[in-house]
Amino acid sequence: MPATDADVIDALVGIAPGSDLDAIRARRPEARTHAQTTYRALFAPEKPGAVTLQDRFAVGAFVAGLHGAAIVAARYGERLVESGASTALRDAVDAAVAEAKTKGPYGSYPAGPLSREDSAGPVYRAGESTRRGLGPRLAAAFEHVHMLVFHPRDAAPASLKTLLDADWSTTDIVTISQIVAFLSFQIRVVTGLRVLAGRSARSTT
């Protein structure tokens, strides 16, 4: 069960008890504990409400896939299977990753002196068969999630209106936003610590 997962970041980085990185993470004990508490709040909540566990792991697998973070994506993909997702849904998540993957961050600033830094990039709209596999609510969520991952500075009230129109509540949108934002953190901690582990002081001498 996700609720009893050992520390996800430790597991994904491959941090063994007593290792150098174990000691480093122990120096920031609250950050270590509460990164995991956040994971549980978002992926093993007491009351999932209208954002079902399946929705949460579908979004998680999509975000990790968009980051090209294979190890993290595999984990969220496994949890999606465990949540009882149909083959059609799992295939749709994979198809969405393939359709939507790009490089970020890009986007536009409000017109003015910062406009010289504007950089164009795609706005994701799920393809027909992907949309069928995801269903309309999750398809709307994925289109918003893609913006959050790759071009968050293009965010505007209209994208929130689209989510409300797809029958997500204000509270649901807060939760979905936290899932994407938290994963943007978790994936980077895993990526960064794996690089650091591969470059440990001992191995470079």
Binding site: L160, Q178, F182
Partner: protein, 202 residues
């Protein structure tokens, strides 16, 4: 469902990155103070945050908010060795500059300047962007933060090596990683749930 998108009141949007105090105006309805339960209140961690529409909006998912806040505080305020506070704030400001979050950049550029006393270097980061020459140690921290923030990440062994040459030990490098990673979390919430406004006092 009666939920709706909010139209912020008449305001002036900031035209450039700044260290000045900005306001933040929500696009979705924060909880009203009188409808907040004890659990909602506790999720703010600091009671004074009840004044902030941003935190009252995030309090709609109290467990996620409280865990987020406790993670944030340890990454930035834990004074047990590692990266000096000024440079944790630099990593936060650089990440926010790169992602385009004017509000987050304003807060953490202000903190970076306060703790480092290097106001002109901080302003160079805000004005010229993440490619500005801030001296080798600061430029190495900015480059590592930016590489980790790219999607997909381009952070690699060369960034670790450059930080080591600049004098960072592995705990300090882990602090750079966490500070930058955390602002990839914060920026996405701030950018997508509301917008910055020039403060009344600016």
């Amino acid at each position: 469902m009666s939920d709706k998108v909010l139209t912020p009141p008449e305001h002036k949007a900031p035209a450039a990155f700044t260290r000045a105090q900005l306001d933040w105006l929500p696009w979705l309805e924060p909880l009203a103070v009188e409808e907040m339960s004890a659990r909602h209140m506790a999720s703010l961690v600091d009671a004074a945050r009840v004044k902030s529409p941003y935190f009252r909006l995030l309090a709609r998912d109290p467990d996620a908010l409280e865990a987020r806040t406790r993670t944030d505080k340890d990454i930035f305020y834990n004074a047990d060795a590692g990266l000096p506070r000024a440079e944790r704030e630099l990593a936060a400001a650089a990440t926010s500059r790169f992602n385009g979050c004017l509000y987050c950049a304003s807060v953490h550029a202000r903190h970076a300047a306060t703790y480092s006393k290097r106001e002109s270097d901080v302003d160079r980061l805000l004005d010229a962007g993440v490619g500005a020459d801030l001296g080798e140690r600061w430029s190495a921290i900015v480059a590592a933060s930016v590489a980790l923030s790219a999607t997909p990440s381009t952070f690699g062994p060369e960034h670790v090596d450059r930080l080591r040459r600049a004098g960072l030990d592995d705990l300090a490098i882990a602090d750079v990683i966490h500070a930058s990673a955390f602002f990839n979390w914060a920026n996405r919430l701030m950018l997508s749930l509301g917008e910055p406004a020039v403060g009344a006092g600016a």
